[in-house]
Subunit: 209 residues, 2 copies
DNA sequence: GAGTGTGAAATTGTTCACAGCG
DNA sequence: CGCTGTGAACAATTTCACACTC
């Protein structure tokens, strides 16, 4: 398959969210225009995005809601379960652990780790927090697909190195540092300080536009 | 000022994070190469990004760490305090409320709202959760700069409409829906389901590349 | 007629390469 | 001599326009 832009993949995920809403509302078909309006895109963009993967629509009608959702799930690889380990049992780790929405979508948290002896051994939403020292042993026993780094910035890079060495190929990073990893490893960043700062910039500059 | 790409603004925020690390390490100058290595960029990109706003470096030497950090803070508008209201006292609202890092960077949470009578009136990290019914009155009394939507997807659009009507021009949206807002309002999205899904896609496709 | 699928055009964003300065 | 600043070349992405199908 030809190279597909990251922006296209992210939009597919948004389209899927909207399609699931359509399913709940009982719609059976949806046009690229409708999909665009609530998927933060344009009709042409929707059609282009989908055309990279095949032609799923019917001319004059639109796209079949159920089938398109299924196709996008297949494209994104959501047909199977993903094993997730979470590093850091603080605010972020706790929030993720107690959210059932990820498990529902196939991302199941296998284990939660921390360095803090005060947290290790405590239960967090039904899972016991394990000592980070066990990380490599645990991963050797049961490989994980995705690791979440929910620690402060300082230990994040070293943890990323350990995770990569242990075979992890996808990291969701909440720490406010840019992780340096080999090209075979994918990192997705959630950086709230950065989001606040882009909002601050927008507030200050769009007065001038 | 000429139009600046969102991607440039986001990188400035990353450069700033690294510059603060440099300050702590006692460095006084930094080259575009060093900045690029830990800012997820390239040397040319760093220089280009900065050149949109002025010329801050010294040829043959690099950039003065302290001064450049200060300049970027000014560009992003981080010189002042921003009033933040948080909608939703669940996992996300709690996590934000208890994180001192945002207040440190000038983003102070003024109020937290919820609809759930079981949560309203309870204290959350020193702040009492207010009934969402008071939102408009409160904002009329004390305007806020940024609103955080930390609710489930269903009420998110309606809340966004209320916030916009009440004069909010910047929204940080954690709900898994694309908000429709007037062009004068800026929305930043943090969509964890989407991040997991892009990681899933990467895991399935980079085997083929 | 309504709405998709898709090359081609336009735009936007990134990289190059080198002049110019400290 | 090293490293910035920047126009010009290049690459990627988005938008357009229209042929085609239901």
């Amino acid at each position: 398959m030809a190279h597909v832009a990251l922006s296209t993949v992210r939009r597919l995920s948004l389209y899927l969210q909207f399609l699931e809403e359509c399913t709940r509302d009982g719609l059976t078909t949806v046009s690229s225009r409708a999909l665009a309006e609530r998927g933060g895109s344009t009709p042409a963009q929707v059609r282009k995005d989908l055309s990279f993967f095949g032609s799923f629509g019917k001319r004059g009608i639109g796209y079949p809601v159920r089938e398109l959702a299924e196709r996008i799930r297949a494209i994104l690889g959501l047909g199977r379960r993903y094993r997730v380990v979470v590093i850091g049992a603080g605010r972020i780790g706790s929030a993720l652990a107690s959210y059932p929405g990820f498990a529902d979508r196939g991302f199941a948290i296998d284990a939660i780790y921390d360095v803090d002896p005060a947290k290790v051994g405590r239960a967090l939403d039904g899972r016991v927090v394990r000592d980070i020292a066990h990380l490599e042993d645990d991963l050797r026993r049961t490989a994980a697909d995705v690791a979440v780094i929910g620690t402060p910035a300082e230990p994040a890079q070293e943890l990323a190195d350990r995770l990569v060495a242990a075979g992890i190929r996808a990291i969701l990073n909440f720490a406010s540092v840019t992780l340096v990893v080999p090209p075979a490893v994918t990192v997705a960043n959630v950086n709230m300080a950065l989001e606040f700062e882009t909002l601050a910039f927008a507030l200050n500059w769009d007065g001038d536009r």
